[in-house]
Symmetry: C3
Subunit: 158 residues, 3 copies
């Protein structure tokens, strides 16, 4: 019998919340659950490539894009970030305790066939384009999320 789905809306895009999302997601997938992660608003930053991608943007979109962190290495903590020091400290402690990094978790997620979906409406509003996001993800709107959540029993908003 196929297991029910797990879905996660990744909204906040802080390092700690992104870690929590992927730890739960990869854990669930390892237990055999089909998992969908839906990245929306600030959560889109988790999926950004870390280099600058030259795409056509208007002034405001450029500004927004510059101020938001580009990818897992640039994310801050939701609390006690202290301009990035807290974030570095947490990564240091994770390494020391052999906890896999966010980048490794994202790779694991791909290998475990976790469906990662970027919210197209949020991309429009925040001026983020497909070229700026990592490969191996899908693009969809809220209806797609709802269809997955309908078949899920563990549906989280993170």
């Amino acid at each position: 019998m196929e297991q029910k789905k797990a879905t996660m809306i990744v909204f906040d895009g802080d390092l700690d919340k992104a870690l929590a999302s992927f730890i739960i997601a990869t854990g669930a997938a390892a237990m055999g659950k089909p998992v969908t992660m839906f990245f929306t608003f600030w959560g889109l930053n988790v999926l950004r490539k870390d280099e600058h991608i030259p795409v056509k943007k208007n002034f405001l979109e450029k500004m927004f894009g510059k101020m938001m962190p580009r990818g897992p290495e640039k994310l801050g903590l939701s609390k006690m970030n202290f301009g990035g020091a807290g974030s570095k400290l947490m990564k240091h402690m994770m390494k020391k305790h052999n906890v896999v990094s966010l980048n490794e978790l994202i790779e694991m997620a791909k290998e475990l066939d976790i469906k990662m979906v970027a919210c197209t409406m949020s991309m429009d509003v925040m001026g983020i384009q497909k070229e700026e996001l990592i490969d191996g993800i899908e693009y969809a709107g809220v209806a797609t999320y709802l269809a997955e959540a309908e078949e899920g029993n563990v549906n989280l908003f993170i």
Copy 2:
């Protein structure tokens, strides 16, 4: 066969999280799901009328009431708000991409018969009175939320 319910606890009351709540809620309702939104703590600010309502309050309640945003137009972003500039920027980008505003989403929610419930315990604690909240909503406590969530399969805390 009647669909299972969707419930949302709207806790944070930031513009971006409120938008996410209503986009999911109206999307679910449009797909035929009965939806209940339970507004608690800072989430109550989403339901406040935008004008000052003269009700009897003690000094602390008045102070609290003044410092909290009055309604959708006054809400800030959970990140990159910059004293309201981020919030204005997001509204501008939404308009540009024909995304409906929070006020319009609330109207849609009413038309789609989404049950909007203000948490009475939070109202007491934060000194908010019924006269200060918009029309067409219900008033209840956590037991009511739990009864709805019990019949739901998509239960989110936002």
Copy 3:
């Protein structure tokens, strides 16, 4: 027939979110639902004893431990905390309206047999040891959370 479970991931560890978690948890338990609360990342601070516990830590762990709040009385609000003034104000308003305090809610949770679980991976990363946390809780990882959530219909991330 046994009721389905309710699970909560308590991630944020702010006073207001901790209150919301325990109000929902004790409400659900009072209605006969088995409830599991999984405390992770900043949520661990909710379970800390309020006195200093002399355990062996390295420099960074000591620093982290000192900067994070020790237990329910020290938690701040997620918004409008103003260096603790907001938090005091909310406690004052709660008392005035006969809303039980977070400490009382935690006692109620124990009496209602709510399973409180501290996330061991987060404890490692944040350098928190068992001696520093309150009695009557369990210790486990994400697999334990997922097993409980699998049997639940109300699964929240707070």
